[in-house]
């Protein structure tokens, strides 16, 4: 059970009688959407408390309320026995509650030292005491396990994993009593994750209360003392870590019997004459190193590995978004080097990219569903530049039926749709352009389970119809269930290629962490030695 947790876990028998923080009956509504419904949460000092739940279950809203970013519609927050209300992040900080957000709260144009001390800089004669500030920053960076970061470096010049470490240092500099981490390790390299864990365990020993949201079961297993599962805006279960099996936890998260249903995969095809997509020695900056792989028509190729190993960059490079890409790309045997998405979309290449963030990259939220749907296929619904409304309406209607998009009419704003339906609109938009190579960047992130299943079936159907699909996902089950082949990336290079039945969680994790060299990379695939 949880007692033997390595160094530092507070013995359950000695726990403090009263919790440091209690949330009771907290509710929050955003328009017609109920983000939190009478949610409760109890947090003790000197303990690490994990919060799990699907996207949309209310975890982020709960954290934002605690951190003072949003105000609850009802309910109370009790800190150290006294009721409190925060109307801004500054107020929450003053009370000792500090949150490390997923979207970083660092100021890009300011230095690391400025950022670390931003909410309460040391002052002298009314001006900021730069030397004291620098010492503060250096101390905080040391505590966070990142003493190599120079305090004068500008945040915008740092890579994402370093920025996350600065974010952690900044939180520590505020001397929190309650530290909240909202998926704070998602951008870190494996080495940094280990360092952060050491820091968190030490903080627990020092008596901090830690609240952390994560999807990663192994992190929770290693760190947490207790867990709470959220579903549909309410706390459905709180239990000591290790008391429930992973399956039980997932069932609590989705509220019903859990069965990952993937459409059946066809038997591996014999290699066709020319693969639809061929990539050779693709390199870019220092994020992509010498990547080579192929994708046949009818094949679903998955990109796996830890976050930030180059998967997103690979998709962007294929789609023409990156400059200075070296290497060779061939589509159906013909050399292609798209210099922009506009070129990649052209009939001669026929690529589509379902981007990472549907709200800022996939859709124009204030515009109507119809306008969004036809946006990538405007030539199909127009003649000589003039839009043919009838044709547009017809094609739009077809797509809505095909993907079963739930919308209050085609003129409804795209922003009024649920997350899953919004993603369907993004996919449908690209299907209208009739692509032959479909790239997807984490397409099922933040989507309800039902829609996920629909997307899996759709991808398999598209592959059966002859498209080549390359898709990046952070979900191992998807890699195992959907893909004919999986490429595991590590540090910008293809570490391992797994096929068919070889795609197992163990193999994926091992390759992701760059452990072991069981099966050598097949000749002609992966990276050049």
């Amino acid at each position: 059970m949880a007692i033997a947790k390595g160094e530092g876990g507070v013995n359950r028998a000695e726990q403090t009688a009263s919790p440091i923080l209690r949330m009771e009956g907290v509710s929050k509504r955003y328009g017609g959407v109920r983000a939190l419904a009478n949610a409760d949460l109890t947090v003790f000092a000197g303990r690490i408390h994990a919060v799990l739940g699907e996207n949309g279950a209310g975890k982020s809203t709960l954290i934002k309320i605690l951190a003072g970013v949003v105000t609850p519609d009802s309910g109370r927050i009790v800190l150290d026995g006294a009721e409190v209300a925060f109307d801004s992040p500054a107020a929450a900080n003053r009370a000792g509650i500090v949150c490390i957000f997923q979207e970083l709260s660092l100021i890009p144009d300011l230095s690391v030292a400025d950022n670390v001390a931003i909410s309460n800089p040391p002052r002298r004669l009314g001006m900021i005491d730069r030397r004291a500030q620098r010492r503060l920053a250096e101390d905080a960076l040391e505590r966070a396990g990142a003493p190599d970061i120079h305090p004068m470096a500008l945040v915008k010049d740092l890579p994402l994993s370093r920025r996350q470490m600065v974010e952690i240092a900044k939180a520590l500099a505020r001397k929190p009593r309650v530290l909240i981490l909202d998926e704070a390790t998602s951008a870190l390299t494996a080495a940094d994750v280990a360092k952060v864990f050491v820091v968190l365990k030490r903080l627990r020993q020092e008596g901090l209360a830690l609240l952390f949201i994560s999807h990663r079961m192994h992190e929770i297993a290693e760190l947490a003392d207790e867990c709470t599962v959220f579903r549909n805006g309410a706390n459905v279960a709180t239990y000591a870590a290790g008391a429930k099996s992973d399956n039980e936890v997932v069932e609590m998260m989705i509220g019903r019997e859990y069965s990952h249903v993937f459409p059946p995969k066809p038997p591996p095809r014999p290699a066709g004459a020319t693969p639809l997509l061929e990539v050779r020695n693709l390199s870019w900056a220092d994020r992509l190193r010498d990547i080579s792989f192929t994708a046949e028509a009818g094949e679903v190729v998955g990109l796996g590995g830890l976050d930030g190993q180059g998967q997103r960059e690979l998709l962007l490079a294929l789609f023409g978004v990156l400059r200075g890409v070296s290497g060779e790309i061939r589509v159906a045997g013909v050399p292609a080097s798209p210099s922009s998405p506009h070129a990649a979309k052209a009939k001669t290449i026929g690529m589509a990219l379902i981007p990472e963030d549907r709200k800022t990259e996939g859709l124009m939220l204030p515009m109507s569903v119809r306008e969004n749907l036809s946006f990538a296929a405007l030539p199909r619904v127009s003649r000589g530049g003039v839009i043919d409304s009838a044709r547009e309406q017809g094609l739009v209607g077809e797509m809505i039926d095909l993907l079963d998009i739930n919308t209050a009419g085609t003129d409804a704003a795209a922003g009024s749709l649920s997350g899953g339906n919004q993603q369907k609109v993004v996919i449908a938009k690209w299907l209208m352009a009739e692509p032959r190579i479909i790239l997807l960047n984490d397409p099922t992130r933040g989507i309800d389970v039902g829609t996920k299943q629909e997307i899996y079936r759709l991808l398999r159907r598209l592959a059966d119809q002859g498209a080549a699909i390359v898709f990046y996902t952070t979900d191992y089950d998807e890699l195992i269930g959907c893909c004919d082949r999986a490429l595991v990336l590590y540090d910008g290079a293809v570490r391992r290629v797994l096929r068919g039945a070889d795609i197992t969680e163990r193999a994926l994790i091992a390759s992701a962490l760059n452990i072991g060299t069981e099966a050598p990379v097949a000749a002609g695939e992966g990276s050049a030695p």
Binding site: V69, S88, P89, A90, N93, F101, E103, L104, S105, L106, I107, P108, D109, L110, S111, D114, N115, I118, S119, P121, R123, G126, M127, I128, R130, H150, M152, A153, L154, K170, W284, A285, E313, L316, V321, L322, R323, G324, S340, E361
Partner: protein
Amino acid sequence: MSDWRYWLGQNRGTLLAFFFFIAMFAIYVSNHPAGFSANVVQTAANKGVLLALVAMAQTFVVITAGIDLSVGMVFVLTNCLASWIVVGTGWSAALGVAGVLLTGLACGAINGLIVIYGRLQPIVATIATGAVYFGFALLLRPVPGGDVYGPLADALTGRVFGVLPASMVALAAVVLVVWIPYSRSAVGRAAYAVGSSETAAYMSGVPVGAAKFCAYLLSGLAAALGGLFLTFVTYSGEASAANGNTYTLFSIAAVVLGGVSLFGGSGSAIGAVFGALMFRTIGDLLFVFNLDPLWQPLFQGLVLLAAVCVGSARLFQVRNRLELFP
């Protein structure tokens, strides 16, 4: 990387502006018929300081990712007001100066309130307030005229120790007393934070509203200092819309030349000052090279065009095009 390298990187814009200005000014005085004489420098300084002060005003707002299209009109308004009240005895002139500066602060406050609490976009809000300020300027001076307290005017437009232009000394004093403390204060840094990323600033507990308001206040103050100085130079007040618009637009040019980012979050008023001086020197260069003054506006425009094109050349280093679309 050593500290020195970081400092260089962060202040690159300002340093470039400084070097370009020195280079241009050197060319100017070396080709001037009267040579590097105190007179030449004094005249140039007086003209340059006017734009430098308005450029400083613009910088305060641009750092917060805003824009103030009313600075030129505040400049004109305070000029007209000064020509009325900065007169008489030493004491009444001093009170007049205070009144002028307070008016500048008030204009800045109005701009700030409308942008922050009215939640209007700065570009449209300041176009409208500019019209209002100009209207008041017209009320004060329907025709050019007025006077100013002689001793003060002469002192500030003359020379110190017989050599240094007093206007430059005064400008340096303003930078030391207003800009440096501001840029190193918490509220100044908050302004940079807000301009760089308002959401991140809010999440970090930075006082967004206070930072913006302070920026607009100081903008009004700096513009008022400029208007005051204009009165000292011209000994009169004139409600000229053309002049006001010119100064507004040139202040934006000076700010860009000085390495301040129009997107907010970086740059320094010192850079903007050098940008303004650079811009003024360009016009004077035409004079010394005996170019027809007819060609001056074109030359200034072409230099501005070239400067912004070169300034954006850094964007060609962008590897991921998505960064071009924030």
